[in-house]
């Protein structure tokens, strides 16, 4: 146990170093003036220059610069956006919850849909159902997310008018942002139109969540199916059946538990992709999150924002991967002894 923790911590340290060093190196990789890339201030005056050069230690060794960078990171002094002059720290952490919210709901959604379908398709009782689910998931897997988004909006918003097309909440409702998670914000706010606002928020969530969930759902269906299939072939399942347990009991006690373990791992592996797809979804549905910010920033060559956004998104991805790893470890007694290096 200790060893496991030790290994994970050292990995975490390595990763933190990796991410921050990478973010730091962006200062140099981005075109343009170094000090502007660091501060986000475009027209640096003479007297200001000296002050900033001292603060950012740009005339000292790379190591010192990097350490200064770490210190600033820690203090929340992430510079300002080259274009708007807003504090990047503020900007990012205001938008982060929206991204997390979208990704999380999509994940939950795909879990709810994919696990039963995956299990169903793994049970060999309905070969046609299996084929159907598989083909559908293959199609879903092959659809570029933006194209899927266009088709879905065209059908469900434009033609049928069931759901709104973009945004998180109708602007009619004025909900003070407390946590940044819209559903939570609505619940803790004291506005007279709580209920409508809540259902409106759900309506807004529907299409983006569905579109974003398409990818993880198909991945999950396939991985659930595969792992359930292999688990159901295992001797211990046969042994359990021979003990006289019913199909459902076998599934519940042994099948799902073992079958879903690799699924957790798959999720960990694909979480990063989910986050990137969330970024694309944000762009498509004008979802005010980190992804939209980042893409905008790339359009506008707003290097400070790009750097901050990338830092946070990669940190998010890593944290999630480690989280899934820990989850995996909790559920799989074997992982505790064999979890080498891999995150």
């Amino acid at each position: 146990m200790f060893n496991y923790l030790y290994r994970k911590t050292s990995l975490l340290l390595f990763i933190s170093f990796g991410i921050t060093a990478f973010a730091f190196s962006l200062y140099y990789l981005f075109p343009g003036d170094l000090l502007t890339n660091m501060t986000g201030i475009t027209n640096i005056t003479e007297e200001n220059y000296q002050f900033l050069a001292d603060k950012y230690k740009i005339n000292e060794s790379i190591i010192t610069q990097y350490l200064a960078f770490l210190e600033r990171l820690y203090q929340g002094d992430w510079g300002v956006s080259i274009n708007t002059g807003d504090s990047i720290y503020q900007l990012i952490f205001n938008l982060l919850p929206a991204t997390i919210e979208l990704a999380l709901y999509a994940l939950i959604y795909s879990f709810i849909v994919a696990i039963p379908f995956g299990v169903l398709s793994a049970s060999e009782s309905h070969p046609w159902l299996d084929k159907g689910i598989l083909s559908l998931s293959l199609i879903g897997f092959s659809m570029p997310i933006f194209w899927l988004a266009l088709i879905i909006t065209f059908i469900f918003s434009i033609s049928l008018g069931w759901f709104p097309t973009s945004g998180r909440l109708s602007l009619v409702y004025d909900i003070p942002p407390e946590t940044g998670f819209i559903l939570i914000d609505i619940l803790i706010s004291d506005v007279p139109y709580k209920a409508e606002a809540f259902s409106d928020a759900l309506e807004h969530l529907a299409i983006p969540t569905f579109v974003l969930a398409a990818y993880p759902t198909t991945v999950l269906i396939r991985s659930t199916r595969q792992s359930m299939k292999s688990v159901m072939q295992k001797s211990y399942i046969k042994a359990a059946r021979a003990k006289g347990l019913s199909t459902w009991q076998v599934l519940k006690r042994h099948g799902l538990r073992n079958g879903l373990l690799p699924v957790i791992q798959t999720l960990g592996i694909h979480f990063g992709t989910l986050i990137t797809l969330a970024m694309v979804t944000e762009v498509i549905f004008a979802w005010p999150g980190l992804g939209a910010l980042l893409v905008d920033a790339i359009h506008q060559r707003d290097f400070t924002t790009i750097q901050g956004g990338l830092l946070v998104i990669s940190a998010l991805v890593f944290l999630a991967t480690i989280l899934f790893d820990v989850l995996y470890m909790i559920f799989d007694p074997l992982a505790r002894i064999r979890g080498h290096g891999k995150i």
Partner: protein
């Protein structure tokens, strides 16, 4: 409770705008987006233009008395006009002459404490050389104020009625000075308009609340929301899904599409505008008139009007649109001709062409619904004469900022008149003064041209003025600092339960009289004038 919801919806006006305002004071900008978002909602002017008749009429000023020599304008203000009360400012007094004096002094007096706040550039006022025109502003009494001019300039009152000449609160400015937060005057606005500022999230939305103590008739909405949706088709989608009531700047193809949709009104509104292709004449090779002239031949106006405007525009044969009184149809032989362009380019010393950038606005404007497409057409034609064009766009804010810094080679942009005076097309776009203040995108300064348009200003006789403007246009078409491309038809698109939205032919949109009906308005008011 469903009751609540209907109330909330009925009391909210949702406007899907195409971009974010730069700030909340039109004095400092020329951008239509800012004007739309700010001028008529938050502020009033002394006088305004009636959108129907085009005549100047009273606004905050009850009456205007003009002296015989047309050099002194005395404005009598309304009494009891309340400023906005917000969480950052509570007014203690109503509007008086001080406020008017402050609002204009800020623009005119370079040593005014607020003059440099926000950069110190007032593009519109600088463009029409207002500071030189107004000799003095005299506070006669609490509710009377007099403007003394240096010249009896014909366009003064029209300029006073533009969306730029708004009235700020002097009391608020004082409060800000005390707090040392002068910058806030343009970002946390206080005005007298029908709606007041509540909240703004950059690139997402603006929320205005009703101004309860509005001096004119009570506004019809509890809140007005600007839903900032730069993407054209997203805006249309929002209109269709009732996420917005009014659509700002429909794309040309969207008009065509929306015409066949139920529940949507499309109204053609009169508009004086021009879209043009401006060359940065301070940079080679565009400092060479021959090159500019050559490039002007590759502009295929018919193709552009077909593809970009979807025929909702007229080809521009002059800078002035045909509905301006000073317009005169002259055949300038502007035909699209690759041969001529090629020949001229060779003559100018560029037989093999060159590389250039075309900056295309990222947003839809009245005068140009899709600059990107237009740029692609130009790019295609340019390639025929060996010029390799690269299309550049940034988001709107960055775009304008970089444009003002003159980083462009050439730009596709346009102009929407601020008033009916032809001068509004010439001086802001091409005068030497504007070359420095920024709205002259060609950075072009021609003394002869300048003197022509100044001469045109100094006289009042329309026919004489017209003649001067024609001469100016002749110079323009010789020198080609910019190539006029089209005069677009402006549309107002809204859901059919909305009425009373006013589109100023010279500027922004006004929701002062807008109403939302529980049911559709009756047929007669939503005649689809714009339909062909």
């Amino acid at each position: 409770q469903p009751k609540n919801e209907t109330n909330l919806l009925a009391n909210t006006l949702l406007y899907c705008s195409e971009g974010s305002p730069d700030l909340f004071n039109p004095q400092l900008v020329t951008s239509g987006t800012t004007i739309d978002a700010v001028s008529n909602q938050l502020y009033n002017r002394l006088v305004k233009i009636n959108p129907q008749t085009g005549m100047v009429e009273s606004d905050l000023a009850r009456t205007v008395i003009i002296s015989e020599d047309k050099m002194r304008y005395r404005f009598y203000l309304r009494a009891g006009v309340e400023f906005h009360t917000t969480d950052y400012f509570t007014p203690t007094r109503t509007l008086n002459s001080e406020d008017v004096a402050f609002s204009f002094a800020r623009v005119f007096h370079s040593n005014h404490p607020y003059n440099k706040v926000g950069g110190g550039f007032y593009p519109f006022f600088d463009g029409v050389e207002f500071a030189q025109l107004v000799e003095q502003i005299i506070v006669v009494d609490d509710l009377t104020i007099e403007f003394r001019l240096t010249d009896p300039q014909a366009s003064f009152l029209a300029n006073m009625a533009t969306d730029f000449a708004i009235i700020l609160s002097a009391e608020y400015a004082e409060q800000l000075s005390e707090q040392g937060l002068e910058e806030n005057i343009d970002h946390y606005p206080i005005g007298t308009g029908p709606y007041k500022y509540e909240h703004y999230v950059t690139d997402r939305y603006i929320r205005y609340k009703k101004h309860e103590n509005y001096w004119a008739s009570q506004p019809n909405f509890e809140q007005v929301i600007f839903d900032i949706t730069p993407n054209n088709s997203n805006r249309v989608a929002k209109l269709l899904t009732k996420e917005c009531d009014i659509l700002g700047y429909p794309g040309a193809s969207d008009v065509q599409y929306l015409e066949n949709k139920n529940g949507i009104d499309i109204v053609e509104a009169s508009s004086m505008n021009v879209s043009y292709w401006a060359f940065n004449t301070s940079e080679p090779p565009f400092d060479n008139p021959m090159v500019r002239k050559a490039l002007s031949y590759i502009v295929d106006r018919d193709a552009i009007i077909d593809a970009v405007y979807r025929n909702h525009a007229e080809p521009a044969s002059s800078l002035l649109p045909p509905n301006n009184w000073a317009y005169k149809k002259i055949d300038r032989n502007l035909d699209f001709s690759i041969e001529k362009a090629k020949a001229m380019l060779t003559e100018a010393g560029y037989p093999d062409g060159f590389d250039m950038d075309i900056w295309a606005m990222p947003v839809q404007r009245v005068y140009n619904p899709n600059a990107g497409k237009m740029a692609e057409i130009l790019q295609q034609n340019l390639s025929l004469i060996g010029v390799n064009a690269n299309i550049v766009t940034y988001d709107w804010g960055t775009f304008r900022k970089k444009l003002a810094q003159g980083e462009h080679d050439s730009v596709l942009i346009g102009w929407l008149a601020d008033n009916s005076d032809p001068d509004n097309f010439f001086r802001p776009l091409l005068s030497c003064a504007a070359a420095f203040s920024g709205s002259n995108r060609s950075a072009w300064c021609n003394d002869e041209f300048d003197s022509k348009i100044l001469q045109a200003l100094s006289i009042t006789e329309p026919e004489q003025r017209k003649a001067f403007y024609q001469e100016a246009e002749n110079i323009l078409f010789e020198q080609v600092p910019l190539v006029p491309i089209a005069h677009a038809v402006r549309y107002r698109v809204n859901r059919d339960n909305i009425s009373g939205v006013e589109l100023n032919p010279y500027g922004g949109i006004s929701f002062e009289n807008a109403k939302k009906h529980a049911k559709k308005t009756d047929k007669t008011t939503r005649a689809k004038e714009g339909k062909k």
